[in-house]
Subunit: 106 residues, 2 copies
């Protein structure tokens, strides 16, 4: 067996946010996300059918919640976002890659 | 909302491995584990009913598989361990805390 590393292989060209699915089945989806200045589309909120547990492993980001204050996430910061809790990524560090792990679950 | 951090609040006394459940429902369990020289009980293998996706976020560890070579995990290394795949943690760094995230899922 060989291992993989979440910090490895960051493409130079990050025109779009990079989303890599590490595990996926009916119940759970684990994603590695690499952002660099990317934010959620300005048009609206994420309103997800599943719960999402998300952690920033490197870099920095701000998540905003509808009618609530924003939260700044640094390396190691994690939060649990309940299904249908409206949120958006309002900022990620434009100068450094921000690496996230997200676990979507029922 | 406030955030939590996987790198924060490591107790000085780690006589036993520290396991903190971050998310738990019928389908998924997300754990933060802090090891310091701890290994699986020598008596046998883990033989788990659920799949486990696990990542080392800090420190270093070796996982051994029945009839297979071992794998060394460093910061950022992750592996997926299928249900009933027999394995054990044969080594963790005795001098530094090793911080893991484990996602158990059906």
């Amino acid at each position: 067996m060989s291992d993989n590393n979440v910090f490895a292989v960051i493409p130079q060209c990050l025109d779009q946010e990079l989303v890599e699915i590490l595990v996926e089945n009916k119940e759970v989806c684990i994603e590695r996300i690499v952002s660099k200045g990317h934010t959620s589309p300005a048009s609206g909120w994420y309103d997800q059918a599943k719960n999402e547990w998300v952690i920033v492993l490197k870099g920095e980001a701000i998540i905003s919640f509808e009618n609530e204050s924003e939260i700044r996430l640094r390396a190691g910061s994690y939060i649990n976002i309940a299904a249908h809790k409206k949120h958006r990524v309002s900022w990620t560090d434009p100068d450094l890659e921000t690496i996230w792990l997200a676990v979507h679950y029922s």
